[in-house]
Point group: C2
Chain length 198, copies 2
């Protein structure tokens, strides 16, 4: 290795970021040290603050700097409807769309045995307790329509049904702006089999 | 924004890494906070140590934790041959190949007006002083064969020639394992026009 030890250590550390291999890590380390030391300091400080300040909301499990996140603490949200999503990014997409006024439960992942992510990692126990608490009128399973997301939703459905709560899933079909020509067979199949009277 | 401020700040900071857009930054922040807090701490510490410990070798301009880097300080290197490369990664590739026993000058970039990288940023003045020092028998211009790398080599050649030092460039042609079928026209042109008697 011709690089100083501290540069090697930085490259090794950067490889812990998802999607970053040896070449990217080298490019990043060079960039940070040679072109953007301010940026490097900003990243260091942001990680420090996030590690010390960010935990999980005790109610919805989303990232939060307070014991209860702003959404769970808000009196304006409809606490009788609970939307289950995989990640904070999914929650944010729904919030941005402004289509939902209920509350959330964030799994912080999806079932993925290969990555050692099972029911315990997703906080399923806490979700069930909340449902059994009884104040809920509806649970919306809003996991992604990927294989893992659907397996997670199926798994949750089996657990939730005995409680008698109304469980729904997001509608499946053609997305807005979608062109038949470019739609996959699975989506077309769904769009046909769930077609509606007009 | 549904994310806590510290998470937003982390996403913003991670976008200063080259090649990282909003979606990657979100994925990285989620990964660090939810799946790999040890990794996050490792990155934070590695940046801190690199920022405080890594500067430039006073002779070759490469990253170094000491005033003179190990290569420049070594008595085993041939100080009469100087190889000019763009980046530490290029230097490392040459060292790994074990084909060169001389010393280096690392430009830490290439001429790139759009990125505000001119002769001053590349330490060209220091390179010239070293050449004028007189102890050099040969300067090897080993910039990349990209448009910018070649422009940088041409620029340096113009500055170095008056000094009378012998200036060489790396051979151009077919790479080892190269197949004619997949070679670009520029490489084939070079390979033909510089073909050698066998």
């Amino acid at each position: 290795m011709a690089d100083p030890r501290a540069v090697e250590a930085l490259k090794t550390a950067l490889r812990r970021l998802p999607g970053v291999g040896p070449k990217s890590a080298q490019r990043m380390a060079f960039h940070l040290l040679e072109r953007d030391r301010d940026g490097a300091a900003q990243i260091q400080e942001a990680i420090r603050l996030a590690l010390s300040g960010v935990a999980h909301c005790s109610v919805c499990n989303n990232f939060s700097e307070t014991e209860k996140c702003p959404i769970c603490a808000s009196a304006k949200r409809d606490a009788a409807r609970l939307c289950v999503v995989e990640t904070p990014a999914d929650l944010e997409a729904i919030e941005q769309a402004g289509v939902y006024q209920g509350v959330y439960f964030v799994l912080m992942g999806r079932l993925s045995p290969l990555d050692n992510i099972g029911p315990a990692e997703l906080g399923v126990e806490r979700l069930l307790e909340r449902v059994k608490g009884g104040a809920l009128g509806e649970v919306i399973l809003a996991t992604n329509l990927t294989v893992e997301g659907q397996a997670t939703a199926d798994f949750l459905l089996d657990l939730l049904q005995p409680s008698g709560v109304r469980v729904t899933r997001l509608a499946r079909g053609m997305p807005m702006g979608g062109e038949l020509e470019y739609m996959d067979a699975g989506t077309l199949n769904q769009a046909f089999s769930e077609r509606r009277e007009v």
